[in-house]
Assembly symmetry: C2
Homo-oligomer: 551 residues x 2
């Protein structure tokens, strides 16, 4: 009898950016790689977060052996609290990732019951039939790793998020030697980051940003205010280095930036000279030429420190002519509008604003096409699955892989929920498991469905009109004019005539009632009549809600 | 006594992209350049269009002499129907622009009363004290022009939207000689397109796209389906040329594309060999290798032909493996999500999809930095106002102008509504006129305000909860449990317990009523109690609407 197949099951990150989660399964052993979250897309109105669908893990609860985290970004670890609330399972990650996860679990009051293990590159963890080895990769957060997973069919390489940076900030190279060893041995399957599979050439080194920041700080006549991701510790280090080199002190603002800088300093991930970081009082006493500020808000988040500066309501920093603001980040898709509104407002306040389109103040954390080719050439996998990308990125990456050596037909473009089975003879998509978007809204997890989102979309378009009809329980006729309430539809004061006419429409729609119709019918009669009348008069389609009160 | 100043008043397009409109005023003469519309931004929920604020024109109605249109794009002519509904004034534009305007005015039943004049480059129109000359520019629509406006203080140059393309498709060059003559004569003021003021270098020529389209059609194994803007007639010509060169027939789909191709053919703006355009029946009978399709939908518009193909519900075209889809357009900011959803879906259906990031299938219609410098060097204006751009584009463009010769302090970054006054001695921002966003929603023009938009935003986030309390008119107590209706908040069936408790909260909030409180107070008491209860239980803040019915 033949062995059971190895099963590879993405539950997130394939066909969308974010919410990365991948299962590997062999017989009665199941391991999880990353448990990330996704920020809601435009049409997911009112949703706070989107997490992966754990249905299949629930069904295979007894087989679950361990969770492995590649690095500490939200799209790889953000849904872990929701996962650990349900599943008691050991979690393995490197030191900084573990630090970030602990902060998160503490917020969710889950730290006590979580079984967290810190590993370092080169460590091998046994999880059922699997042996999982961490290897270092260059990415836009320290301690990022990929995984080499030994399976009964041979080694699987999961790159995590990576690029090849030969002059990285904190000496965090992608371990090409280890990958080449796996390639020499014979790699069964490569899973590789597709985020920038459309981008020709090489992703520039972080070194470029370091030079740019130093030049900016050397030449700026006043304060230099740098906004970046709070998790981009290496960038924070670059800002600190540039400040030191140009004789500036550094003020840190924004809650998550303050927390992360403190945590990174404590764990030894930031090298900060004594006395460099200053408080508000010292900042106020120093000439602007001797100041640098590190802040949150690079994504235009409404309550972030940079947005407050741009709106002129930051508690400690009032933007003036002579200030230089550096956006050392790219706008994540969906955030462009908010980011550029800040840029515009900062310009209006007189600041010089430097951002990616006009200065080399950011480089991406993901590999471009030439780097992806190098990985393919070194690992030479038998099978390939592009991960981490929208569908087109995966397609483009699969083609690239076939162009540089993956046998035709052996590159599989999967979608969340697809089950790829690999055995001794071949690989094939063998089925699907549930992998829908699970919405978190307030305390609700998974209770928001398409129906509710459609209602929110309708409400957002033309508002709501509520009609309360008080009818006589014997005759079914109105006992007094209907009450009408609107929100988000028209200005009620200006449109009192329209609303008066609407009350008449309600009256007319019930005038023919000569017996007691059931409430459902009365309501839908009123609703139709009012909806039609309002559309004719305004060409708008508010949501009409009708309540009949019988007296 | 000194002469009155020349006044330059932007009513749109400065600080935003779209809705271009500019006033020039001298004593009792007022002229208008462009009357464009803007598509609503994300937070303008349910708004159909945004048009300029005509308040100041209304006040100066007697001074209004003429409207000049630079070209036929919506952001330059789209609000003309709303303008001509109010103001009886001659409109001057080139032939294709006029054709597009006529279609639009006919839709609004305004064609009869409009006074439309067709001009050609070189024509000079007298409008009060002003003399306005049209000059040709290269842009992504035929017949695009800039304007040279003679004023009592000297000539003003308005570039319209332009780039410098030395190998344009329809021989439509930017008239550098005419601009150099104005420069030699001494230009008072230059108003120039800032859209790509951040972009280094030169915008590539349309020729590049022509080559790419021809290569794609030569090599594609099946149909080639090209999506572009319906107004981008020169691109349509390029598709036709490529089809002719590679032995393909052309099928046109999408209402606005069909209309525009017909109009452009009629007016002689398209060169189409006899028998090249085919109908559905012929399309069905031809092998895919001999077919090209031109379609709308390059912006992912929900009901467009390309979106229907991507969703598998186009009436005549079912995407299959072997099809090549070309997106010959860039996603306008705000449309990226819809555009890339189509790309992903087309890939899923098996098509090869070519778009800007992976092939040279589109070039922009606006000048990049090196081109902007050339215009500055040729025109050498005394004063400069960057137009057509978000605020940061204007700032960057003003700096560029000062770097290449505009005297320091003579480049003015204006915002919509600013009044720039120029006289014999200087120029200065002398005041403001109303220039707010005027929202068109259905039949309503300008009746949607921030208050209504805030309500829509609130409704879209957590939905609405309607509470109807029927109270005894003597005691002020509930006569029966409150009626509660929700939309977009929770699943009512799953949350019946929550709603039951909510009814109890209503009852409790009225239990203390020992006299007849006024309705306003009763309503706000219920509203507060319900809002608080629901937030505690769900961490959501639906809009709570309360109606008290007295019986």
């Amino acid at each position: 009898m033949s062995r059971p197949p190895l099963r590879v099951i993405p539950l997130g990150g394939l066909g969308e950016i974010g919410r990365n989660m991948m299962l590997l399964e062999y017989a009665d052993d199941l391991i999880v790689i990353d448990v990330g979250l996704m920020f809601p897309e435009e049409e997911m109105l009112g949703v706070d977060l989107v997490i992966p669908d754990f249905t299949y893990v629930r069904e295979r609860r007894d087989a679950l052996r361990a969770v492995f985290l590649t690095h500490g970004h939200e799209d790889h670890v953000g849904a872990l609290p929701y996962f650990l609330r349900e599943f008691q399972v050991p979690v393995y990650s490197t030191r900084l990732t573990d630090g970030l996860v602990r902060v998160k679990l503490a917020e969710h009051r889950l730290l006590d019951r979580a079984e967290l293990h810190v590993v370092k590159p080169g460590d091998v963890i046994r999880a059922g039939v699997f042996e999982v080895e961490f290897f270092q990769v260059a990415h836009s957060i320290p301690d990022a790793c990929g995984l080499i997973i030994r399976t009964p069919y041979g080694p699987v390489v999961h790159t995590g998020d990576f690029k090849l940076d030969h002059t990285p900030v904190m000496n965090q190279h992608t371990d090409l030697i280890r990958l080449a060893q796996v390639g020499a041995e014979g790699c069964l399957l490569l899973l590789a980051d597709s985020t920038y599979a459309e981008q020709e050439g090489f992703t520039p080194s972080e070194e470029l940003v370091g030079h740019a920041l130093r030049n900016i700080m050397a030449e700026a006549p006043g304060r230099v205010i740098v906004a970046t991701f709070a998790s981009l510790i290496s960038r924070v280090q670059q800002v600190i280095d540039a400040a030191v080199a140009t004789g500036r002190k550094v003020f840190v603002t924004g809650r998550s930036m303050i927390d992360n800088v403190a945590m990174a300093q404590r764990l030894g991930y930031l090298n900060v000279p004594e006395g460099l970081l200053i408080g508000v009082d010292e900042m106020r006493s120093l000439p602007h030429r001797q100041l640098a500020v590190i802040t949150t808000g690079s994504q235009g988040e409404p309550t972030s420190a940079l947005t407050r500066m741009a709106n002129g309501d930051h508690r400690h920093i009032t933007i003036t002519k002579g200030d230089t603001v550096v956006l050392s980040a790219t706008a994540i898709p969906g955030n462009e509008h908010a980011v550029f509104r800040n840029v515009d407002n900062l310009f209006r306040l007189g600041a010089n604003v430097l951002y990616n389109r006009v200065a080399n103040v950011h480089v991406r954390g993901h590999a471009s096409r030439e780097e992806l080719k190098i990985i393919q050439s070194i690992v030479q996998p038998e099978y390939f699955v592009p991960i981490h990308g929208e569908y087109r990125h995966l397609v483009v990456h699969a083609r690239l892989a076939e162009a540089v050596g993956v046998p035709e037909g052996n590159a599989f473009v999967l979608t969340d929920g697809d089950v790829l089975e690999i055995d001794d003879t071949c690989a094939r998509i063998a089925g699907r498991v549930p992998a829908s978007y699970v919405y978190v809204d307030g305390l609700g997890i998974g209770d928001i469905d398409q129906h509710i989102l459609r209602d929110r979309a309708h409400l957002s378009t033309d508002g709501v009109v509520v009609v309360i009809a008080t009818v006589d329980k014997l005759t079914g006729k109105l006992t007094r004019p209907a009450d009408i309430l609107t929100r988000g539809f028209v200005d009620e004061a200006e449109q009192s005539e329209l609303l008066d006419q609407c009350r008449e429409v309600v009256a007319k729609s019930l005038a023919l009632a000569d017996h007691i119709a059931d409430f459902g019918e009365v309501n839908s009669r009123i609703k139709d009549a009012v909806g039609r009348f309002l559309y004719e008069r305004t060409r708008r389609r508010p949501m009409v809600l009708t309540v009949t009160v019988e007296v």
